[in-house]
């Protein structure tokens, strides 16, 4: 909560999926309960195939960081996660503290993270919510 007061920006989300349609759909669903949360879909490859793109993910993160948001990233299957981790590896150390990967289920995690960001959660709180661990215990 302190983060929001300090920076005036709600935590933003990047949704990474092998499928552009799936990423866009998750954004659409999560936005229903989080109208003020900035979300970017980074699904599919740059030429519209199934897969993930380092550049699409990196561009989405950069855009949101430039706008002053801390950023939580969610992904679907293994290689999407590897793409996200590659993007995180390339961030400078002072940038990296503002961008986190959420190791959680894509749909449930995105909704939980978005709602937490909407009510003013800081990055750590959004990441914790997005893991959605209570759904599986």
């Amino acid at each position: 909560m302190s983060h929001r007061k300090a920076h005036g920006a709600v935590v933003a989300l990047v949704i990474v999926s092998h499928s552009a349609n799936l990423a866009a759909g998750v954004v659409e669903l999560a936005a229903q309960m989080a109208k003020d949360v900035q979300m970017r879909a980074a699904g599919g490859t740059e030429d519209g195939r199934i897969g993930t793109s380092f550049d699409l993910v990196n561009d989405a993160v950069s855009e949101l960081r430039t706008a002053g948001h801390d950023v939580a990233i969610l992904s679907d299957l293994g290689s999407a996660t590897m793409t996200v981790e590659s993007v995180l590896d390339f961030l400078d150390a002072d940038e990296a503290v503002h961008v986190r990967f959420v190791d959680g289920p894509l749909v449930e995690g995105a909704v939980a993270a978005a709602v937490t960001a909407q009510v003013g959660g800081d990055l750590a709180e959004v990441v914790a919510a997005g893991r959605a661990r209570d759904l599986f215990t």
């Binding site: 897969g51 993930t52 290689s79 590659s86």
Partner: protein, 210 residues
């Protein structure tokens, strides 16, 4: 044969790899269709074609070539091979300074394996490209320790990677998309281990013709 490996070797390697991956595109697609999402042949072909275009401008040293391969594969491949080979070539580049003697070859292979393990969190026996890179590193280390040339060291690595790839056939996949198939993944050669064997074979060929 005993010459150290320079930027000309690295360029020749990567161009050779592009040709071989294009030639084996359908084979890699078929291997990946059997136990994965079927995109490996297409992705490697597309990625290395983009790499070769980027390398048209040349590169000052081996590390620079490896860095171009890394960043281009990350951006263009799309599937798991992008971050895996991208990280492999990035770590290999970091392990490289100047031309490569036999120990330098070992350092490049060790860097690549370390990058793949860091990114994919796989270990041996899980039916992945780690099963080709791990024996390749062991064979290269042994060859370099025995006084082999850089080219001989790479050839030893390539032979071991090919054997490692073939050894994935009876394995059950426990990492990646193939693990969803459980026992039905047994009996197929891993596509990532196969492309690794092609990469190291072309590296050896390029060194032998220097």
């Amino acid at each position: 044969m005993s010459r150290n490996l320079n930027a000309a070797w690295a360029l020749s390697w990567i161009r050779g790899a592009q040709a071989v991956l294009a030639e084996h595109r359908m084979e890699l697609i078929d291997l990946d269709r059997a136990i994965g999402d079927g995109d490996h042949g297409e992705n490697m072909d597309r990625g290395f074609k983009a790499v070769v275009v980027k390398l048209d401008a040349g590169a000052p040293d081996v590390a620079a070539v490896l860095k171009v391969v890394a960043s281009t594969l990350m951006s263009t491949v799309g599937g798991a091979a992008g971050p895996l080979y991208g990280t492999a070539f990035m770590r290999a580049a970091k392990a490289t300074e100047g031309d490569l003697d036999a120990d330098g070859v070992v350092a490049v292979i060790a860097g690549a394996l370390e990058g793949i393990v860091a990114r994919g969190k796989a270990t041996t026996g899980e039916k992945t490209m780690v099963d080709a890179w791990t024996p390749a590193l062991a064979a290269a280390s042994a060859a370099a320790a025995a006084g082999s040339s850089p080219a001989e060291t790479l050839r030893a690595a390539a032979i071991a990677a090919q054997a490692g790839a073939e050894a994935t056939i009876p394995m059950q996949a426990t990492k990646g998309r193939a693990s969803y198939l459980g026992e039905r993944s047994i009996g197929h050669q891993d596509p990532g281990a196969t492309s690794t064997a092609y990469l190291l074979a072309t590296a050896a060929e390029a060194a032998e013709s220097m």
